[in-house]
Symmetry: D5
Subunit: 144 residues, 10 copies
């Protein structure tokens, strides 16, 4: 444990967030996402929900201001009746932490898989909600 680092961020996850640069993407994958088969770098966060991880990451990592929508969600498959109230939770978090009003791009399921496969890393969470996966694109920071 270090001062100012939330304990649900693992050392490996923090290292990967630091190594990411402008335009690199990270996937917060729900418990049903095929993370191990799609990840270039896999970080386990078993047992954690995505909202608390999203908030912790959004505090540490800026989102990309060079694109219109620096976050992406997986569209509900046509015909599937699943509701996605967790998207509202994500919206609130990104509004509070990143000042973004309409941050989300919506991506068809298999296109989402392809984008996850190209992402810098995937975080395998225990999130139980369906369609709860979210991709974040990193922005830039001035030197510190």
């Amino acid at each position: 444990m270090l001062r100012g680092i939330p304990s649900l961020i693992s050392p490996e996850l923090l290292k990967i967030l630091m190594e990411m640069g402008h335009g690199d993407e990270i996937v917060l994958a729900d418990g049903n996402f095929p993370a191990a088969s799609h990840a270039q770098r896999l970080v386990r966060a078993d047992g954690h929900g995505i909202p608390e991880l999203l908030r912790a990451i959004a505090k540490l990592m800026p989102l990309d201001p060079y694109v219109d929508r620096p976050a992406a969600l997986m569209q509900v498959v046509p015909g599937d009746k699943t509701e996605t109230p967790i998207w509202g939770v994500y919206g609130d978090i990104l509004r509070e932490e990143a000042g973004l009003d309409v941050p989300f791009e919506h991506v068809e399921r298999f296109a989402f898989y392809e984008r996850a496969r190209a992402a810098h890393a995937i975080v395998a969470t225990g999130e139980g909600a369906l369609y709860a996966n979210v991709i974040l694109k990193k922005g830039v920071l001035p030197a510190n």
Copy 2:
């Protein structure tokens, strides 16, 4: 050994089943299948038949409800007279464990090999029956 985990499921196999996500496939390969040359991840289950493995896995892992037929068999090569009574055994197991009536897609031999090559893992069993290979596609679970 742990409570509730059948002893024929090896630690490595259980880990791989857990790491699989929605849509990932696993091949239960008979003793003559070219498993080592086709597997992205190879798990040995030498000396075990497929029916007992299939039942143990079906108890632990849900099958994909987003496709019509979440399991696949290798078609008998035209001209080959081999009978495949083991398919009936598989059907009974999936009916009992997964509540599926017509779970099987039938795939031509070389197409089956290509699909096995793309699968998340292959389990190399000692199953002696011919044409006994079976592919399972994982489904989704609510959080637990």
Copy 3:
């Protein structure tokens, strides 16, 4: 995710629990424990408290009936005023899950470190309570 496996148990942790045998020990280490420097096998469980992990593990893994006290706690260093109410929580969990009334041995701090160094694995949790480390010794199961 698999049926019957709590989502806070990571695939790697489950694999290690399965591979452990009679007399092997596992340390559930609090957030301040020097886990990386002492572990023969290190499993990360960042952000999780020990009580929920202890309960999940105690459901899966039997404790050793061949020793008087199959669990161990780190003694408070003489002069340190820290209270350890979490020990009562652990006691309740082991009473409920393992039927043990007096399960704990109390081990001096540096002796505890040496025993942790010899343990089969250490789980690095985010538990914030002090003196919250606990060692579990695995028992035996009949075949299943």
Copy 4:
């Protein structure tokens, strides 16, 4: 699969048996043995009983004629009432396959662990009987 090799002998186990030489020891460990923590080389044989493995190995591998008792069992811990009928099964197998009448040395539990730690390999079986572990010391063969 190859002609003449029983399908419960995995490729890795056969390779290790071949690489062993005069005086090297292999442990057939029951399902409760701490195999992963004691093995220099670990072979998994989950779900298999020891008798069928013992017979298959005894057919392939000679036992050491330079010692009085080329096999060893773990003594029942004093006070433990467990019966060990499986020892008789082992005795029958070694009589039939190796022509030995009194093959077994009996080793105290913790001395057995130390000897297992020095052995060339440990096979982790799913054998459910208690005190079912057995150590085999390899002998010599004329050239073939």
Copy 5:
């Protein structure tokens, strides 16, 4: 050394032969073949001729009955006067061990290289005869 395994079959070669399945190919490469640069899995058998290896392998491993010619030779390059009496030796061996009368396909030199590159393994022998390379395609066995 094990009973019934010829001593010129190395532990690694036997393991690879066991792991091969229906349709997998293995190349027995003469001393001049570019084995290291073409092999997916390379096994050294320095100093051995191919005929004794071919006979030992043919005793253990069935050839593929689903193709007309389960073995392949490299055609002599046009204009090269080299004689290939060793092909007759190979023919005799496969007739005796596998009951095949016309087992060989003849493959142009660079096509042979490509097929070797896709093979499961290459055995680098010390065979001194030219054009002595041979590819074997594995068949199926009933359970044992």
Copy 6:
């Protein structure tokens, strides 16, 4: 780069600082220290002086309150006239960041080497001052 993490802390160094626990030690080694030959884990920080690293680390990582002097310096070898004004700089930094007045233990040169060899990690800096090595012992944090 992440918010709040100074850019001279490398991702690997931050990961190691996070993984350290109570009582683990880290060496900030000057440019002449034999870091590669003594380190269990080596982190390069070429071209950086120790004062800026010490300040950055002291902001993130608590020092051990269970020992009298949680930092250590290498004593000047008897007969060596070297002055060590940098020790005063270190004292100021630890007073400001950790509130410690007399934080330093002074350790004989070869005893210092042995302690460095047992430390969790060594950071190889480009610090040009002589006798500028410093060891820090990590403390505890409440959960966050």
Copy 7:
């Protein structure tokens, strides 16, 4: 430390510079560049600005005389108002160290990423200026 090697050049960086040959490229990446995801070989130089690294490297490594412009910069994205005064600093350094007046090619952002992906190595610096990345193409030296 060695005589004549600046301490901000790490051992690994010097080794890579030595191993590079005529036409190989190295990227000096600013703190926001996606270095870890694009690098074939990644060298960390956290906390260092690019100008001092550029000067140190230009003293050691010749630039390619076979191309018109042996260095490359990333073009400012259209619409972005960022100024790039650091380019002037780079120009001065290359004029002084390499005698080049117009060394820079200007490359569109995504083309720059592709070229970085093909480069021999990327140095991840802590440079805080935006658009501060620079690619260097190595030249030739007579024997020494």
Copy 8:
């Protein structure tokens, strides 16, 4: 050191020369060649000129009699005035050691790079002459 092996041939280089087969190519690269970035297998021979290596290799390894020109040189880039007297030295060596009068194919610079990338190995020498790189294609030997 072994009898009959020149001391400038390293153990690794000799091993690679032995493992090469008919048609495999090896590049002797001068000190400016981008060896590390192009090599499938890289052997260092720092500080050695190519002529002595060429002679030592030509004594051990036959050249390919199935192609017209079993060696290749890099063409001088159009407009470059560099002289290549070392080519004459190479010609003398191959005449004396391999009995070849016109052994060299001349390959355009970037085509040479591609061929080097496909070669079995590259030897990185310290040769100071420019355009001194040479590719050798291995031939066949009768059994010994």
Copy 9:
């Protein structure tokens, strides 16, 4: 294959022989020797007898002139009636190739094992004779 290197010397064995220096020992182990469990570096030479390997090695590698007896044999265990005619064969080979009349030290069985464990390498042959193991101690060569 290379000129002058016998084809039963594998590339790996030749590399190890080259890397050995004055006083280093190599064991030529018969088919029953526990080579894999005792070797620091293991080279397989399955299917070969020791006499032909001994002759090939003795031609390449000098024996140590600084000790009285640069070769060692394993003594027959007291009570064992085995004859060792192969020792005479070894004596003839070393007389012819190394000019030694009484080259052999005789070492008790378990002392021989310890010495093998400390040797630089063990060659696992297929030699069928019993007590056929031999240790060679390397000597010195003038530069070549």
Copy 10:
């Protein structure tokens, strides 16, 4: 190749020299030294004499001023008539490059081996002179 680095210093050797610190030792081993079996880190410099390497290293690396004799030679074994004129060459080089008049400690053969085993690295040269091994102990440098 880089400016100012002699081409007989390999990239790996330079990296190791840089990583060494005060008191670390490096062995320049002649062609007969058992380098591979004694080295913690082995660098090959086949075909090179020690004098040119010694001079190149002495230019780059300071010797230890804290000990009386920062270099060491292997004593001639009693009874051995070998002359060691190369020691005078070494003395001249260290006088010219390091300003040392009596730099050499003389160490008995087996004590020399033990010291080499503890050294940071061994450079395996092709030096043909006997008793030509030399150990160098690194000193300190002010920051650059």
